[in-house]
Symmetry: D2
């Protein structure tokens, strides 16, 4: 068995337009709703054409001390020029967590594969 | 053939906690990015448990005079209590449109089926 | 409010290459697994290019006498020429039903919008 | 940055009910459609309840010598007891490949996280 983990690319989002950026508060309260926003290309925009575009973001959460991660959300960007309409790779949703841990985001470019990032979050 | 259209339920979001609410500017510029936000339960919150929760939102756009609608985005809310983590039904992304038309949002509750709403938008 | 139901197109799958075809046994046993297969273009194939392709199928079930339909599955076809790889619009999964009712399939073409079909099924 | 790759679990599908099994011919012809089937629990079935179920499968392909993998399909299993209806974790679609490489499947259990498997395929 070969692991897909070898294809999870990362990098500095300031210089790499595929890396998802996870925007959350540093500290949140247990069970209290907060905004979780994912973007890419905060410094350099990614193309958005039928031939080359960001297809989706996925977000998982791994609670400290837990064995398994839990999926939080998937954002699918569907329009890439059909009828001159475009959906750009920004995804925001609302989340409630019960303990501190780490958020993991993945973004998929139809040409350049899967990219990832992580962000620790403290649940007070 | 029976049409699924018979199951697309609607109502006033102030009194019905399943109706998606489409938050966009009234007027946007052609080809200029703007935030498209979908929420439900702005007045009355929807339960979020393993047994009963909002699973996804879908958003389509129909340009005035066009024959077919184009899908813009799908938001999937994945956590409904696993490890005491929850994803609430809010979805936001960034969109560029080329002409005026109508946005259509759908929300799916695993118990109460599919609900919809629409919102006209002017592209100046 | 305008209903998205107006955009649910149908037709005879023998002459229309967008209509999903629902392949199931006529009669199944309650709680017994059976194959549910969706295809399109059984008579006329649909194009599969970056510019024009089938993006997804969705399948719902409405049990006789029930108020709401339940989603069974979504199939997303992701490759349309990237690296000369292609995913064609066929989707099959395994389903268990508890009572007779109607299956509803939808297919989405990025150019020609949403198409639908239905199929009654008897649960003995 | 922590990599999500650490959470991609694997194992022998004969003893582990979460591992996706990739069913494809050993050899296919370039550009010729073939069935790609993913299942889990061929030896031991996985539970299918609201509290504990398989949510989705994802399939990627990595062509020999290519830098990036391409997503082929996502299968989402939506019904886990709603109205006593169930979608079981089987996913089949039709694929055309242009060169030899490796297929990667992932399965997500809402309780036990992400599992993976790979399968080499020869394109003659
Ligand atoms: Fe790219
Ligand atoms: Fe509900
Ligand atoms: Fe078409
Ligand atoms: Fe499990």
């Amino acid at each position: 068995m070969k692991s897909f983990g070898q294809f999870l690319q990362s990098g500095d989002w300031k210089g790499e337009k595929h890396v998802p950026v996870i925007h959350v508060p540093e500290t949140v309260k247990a069970g209290e709703a907060f905004d979780l926003k994912i973007s890419i290309g905060d410094a350099i925009g990614h193309p958005n054409t039928l031939e080359h575009h960001i297809v989706w973001f996925k977000v998982f959460f791994h609670g400290d001390g837990e064995k398994f991660p839990v999926e939080l959300a998937t954002f699918t960007f569907a329009a890439h020029g059909e009828g001159e309409n475009f959906t750009e790779p920004t995804g925001l949703t609302t989340v409630k967590l019960s303990k501190s841990g780490t958020l993991y985001a993945q973004s998929y470019c139809n040409i350049h594969g899967v990219w990832e990032n992580s962000q620790d979050i403290t649940v007070a």
